[in-house]
């Protein structure tokens, strides 16, 4: 039985990597992948808590997080396509007509 803290540290690290990825990467696709990373980090911590506490709620939550992530990815990709048609680029630092 591994200690809970290992899972939590792993989760925190993954989450941080995801956040930093969102902050620094310029390609919209990669940003979406970083968001997925964040969500999966959360899933790890939820499962870890759940098994540590002996309580199912955490694992149920994981199912929903996965579902929502899938839905979000679908919508996100659709938007990426529509944006790409308009701009022919996925560099999000270049999409700034809307500002100030």
């Amino acid at each position: 039985m591994l200690e809970l803290n290992y899972f939590l540290v792993l989760s925190a690290l993954l989450f941080s990597i995801g956040v930093v990825g969102v902050l620094v990467r310029r390609n919209a696709m990669i940003i979406f992948m970083c968001i997925e990373l964040m969500l999966n980090a959360i899933n790890i911590s939820l499962v870890a808590f759940s098994s540590f506490l002996g309580n199912d709620s955490g694992q149920i939550f994981v199912f929903f997080v996965l579902t929502v992530a899938a839905a979000e990815a679908a919508v996100g990709l659709a938007i990426v396509i529509s944006l790409f048609r308009n701009k022919e680029s996925l560099d999000i630092d270049k999409i700034n007509i809307l500002k100030w």
Binding site: L8, F15, G18, V19, V22, A28, I31, F32, I35, M38, L39, A41, I42, S45, L46, A48, F49, F52, L53, N55, D56, S57, G58, I60, F61, F64, V65, V68, A71, E72, V75, G76, A78, I79, V80, S82, L83, R85, N86, K87, I92, I95, N96, I97, L98, K99, W100
Partner: protein
């Protein structure tokens, strides 16, 4: 954990009728759209009828206090109040989509209707969720539909850019939020906010950094929904880029739903439910979340109002204005009293009508000039005096001029603040309203005092329906501005959350 039996679930369904009606409405609209396949108002009418029926059943729930689906959601006057608010605003927004040229010219505009009804369903659940899983799911229901809607006119660059920014910002924020939730879950072992509250009250959590951190992370999710500083950055861009009816929906329904879930989460979880001291609920020691809200609220008011001053697009101006208005509304949470909650509800009711009204005028103007820039509104007061006067009513109300409902809301908020000895905060808010006057009146200055380059004739022609909708929005603004006792009564009655004294 309670035993989940079929019987319990079936019993809970009786408290779930409004939501069930909405689900049915979404399905019916979807099929109608498939069958008709044409640009027809039938889908919109079906959507409105479904919302009305659902609103009626929600109205019947007034007075109920029940926990349904083994603690996933509750039915209490607070939730019912918000449900009715959502029904009203969604109906208006669907009417907006019918009269908006922008949307009518896009393909498949019928999809709008059932996406909006679906969002209303999400908002319903946000108002009644009492479990963190439910909160997250309902929030995402609203969010995902609104990502689609804001990128709806997909051939327009602005629209798809807005959707892109929205989806990235939204997904990241809700990710941060559930990280906070997972920490709270790990700390307390429960997803139900009532159980969490009980556990937190028992254990000495004073100043535990993990709890403070997780509160702030959860706040990121809620804060993004109500566009509070510093989670507001998406707001101006999305409001400007999205079609106006969608913007109106985001500004009213979506942010009201954000307030509903946020109020319930904080009030239930972090107040000691049974201990009243001097008629005031005590916050759980060591977790000074009210101070966090004070900071966010002041920042929202200041940044929202000051940035709005220089805007050239009315939609963008209204976006900043709604950030500031959100700041005012949050003031009601800072004192954690019944009075503050009542004031928030009063304000939200007024906010619904005046904001929708302002956006509707923007739609009507945009239908004629294909723009939402202030400069293109020059001379509108001459070309369509009646609509310009309506705009004046909404602007005065947003600025909080007496004899409008906007004043009543501010008045109640500020007097609640003063009664809780937070005079300095009231003062900050009043000064902010003075600044806000500046840009609200600027719209009127452009409409009435500045002449456009082209001729003032011919006048713009609008259908009688447009005037009727405007009147429906403006009448409550003026009527409740003068006679606000019923408004306050409703708010007082609705400021009852299960589990709170």
């Amino acid at each position: 954990m309670q035993e989940l039996t079929l019987k319990q679930t079936l019993n809970s369904l009786s408290g779930f009728i409004p939501e069930t009606v909405l689900i049915a409405t979404v399905i019916v609209c979807l099929f109608l759209d498939l069958i008709l396949r044409k640009k027809s108002v039938i889908v919109a009418v079906a959507g409105i009828v479904g919302l009305l029926v659902s609103g009626y059943f929600a109205y019947l729930q007034f007075g109920m206090r029940e926990v349904i689906f083994t603690g996933m959601a509750v039915v209490d006057p607070f939730a019912v109040f918000f449900k009715i608010l959502f029904v009203v605003s969604t109906i208006f927004v669907i009417i907006f989509t019918i009269s908006s040229k922008e949307i009518q010219e896009s393909t498949h505009h019928n999809e709008h209707v059932y996406l909006m009804v679906a969002m209303a369903l999400g908002a319903f659940l946000m108002a009644s969720a009492s479990n963190m899983i439910m909160m997250y799911l309902s929030l995402e229901t609203v969010s995902i539909s609104s990502y689609i809607l804001s990128g709806y006119t997909k051939r327009i660059k602005r629209s798809s850019e807005a959707a892109m920014k929205y989806v990235i910002y939204g997904a990241a924020s809700s990710g941060i939020m559930i990280y906070g939730m997972s920490l709270i879950y790990g700390f307390t072992g429960s997803m139900n906010i009532y159980e969490i509250s009980a556990i937190l009250a028992k254990s000495a959590v004073t100043g535990n950094p993990v709890i403070v951190m997780s509160i702030i992370m959860i706040l990121a999710g809620f804060g993004y929904k109500i566009s509070s500083v510093p989670f507001h950055f998406w707001t101006p861009d999305v409001y400007e880029g999205a079609p106006v009816p969608v913007t109106a929906f985001l500004a009213v329904t979506s942010s009201a739903a954000g307030f509903a879930v946020m109020i319930r989460f904080f009030a239930v979880t972090f107040l000691q439910n049974n201990i009243l001291l001097n008629g005031k609920l005590q916050i759980i020691p060591g977790i000074n979340w009210t101070e966090i809200i004070v900071v966010l609220s002041v920042a929202s008011m200041i940044i929202g109002n000051f940035t709005a001053v220089w805007q050239q697009s009315v939609k963008r101006m209204l976006a900043y204005s709604s950030i500031a208005q959100g700041g005012y509304i949050m003031l009601g949470m800072t004192m954690a009293t019944q009075q503050g909650l009542t004031a928030m509800l009063v304000y939200l009711m007024g906010y619904l009508f005046m904001t929708l009204g302002a956006f509707y005028v923007v739609i009507l103007v945009a239908n004629k000039v294909d723009s939402d820039e202030l400069v293109d509104m020059r001379g509108f007061g001459y070309k369509s005096p009646v609509i310009a006067v309506f705009m004046a009513v909404f602007m005065f109300s947003l600025a909080g001029i007496p004899s409008t409902v906007g004043f009543v809301g501010k008045f109640y908020l500020f007097s609640a603040l003063i009664e809780s000895n937070m005079v300095w905060l009231a003062l900050v808010a009043v000064l902010n309203s003075v600044v806000s006057l500046f840009f609200y009146i600027k719209v009127l200055k452009y409409m009435f005092l500045m002449k456009p380059e082209e001729e003032l004739t011919p006048k713009y022609q609008y259908g009688i329906g447009n005037y009727a909708v405007l009147l429906l929005l403006a009448l409550p603004v003026m009527f409740f501005g003068l006679y606000f006792a019923p408004l306050v009564k409703i708010a007082e009655y609705s400021a009852i959350l299960i589990g709170l004294k």
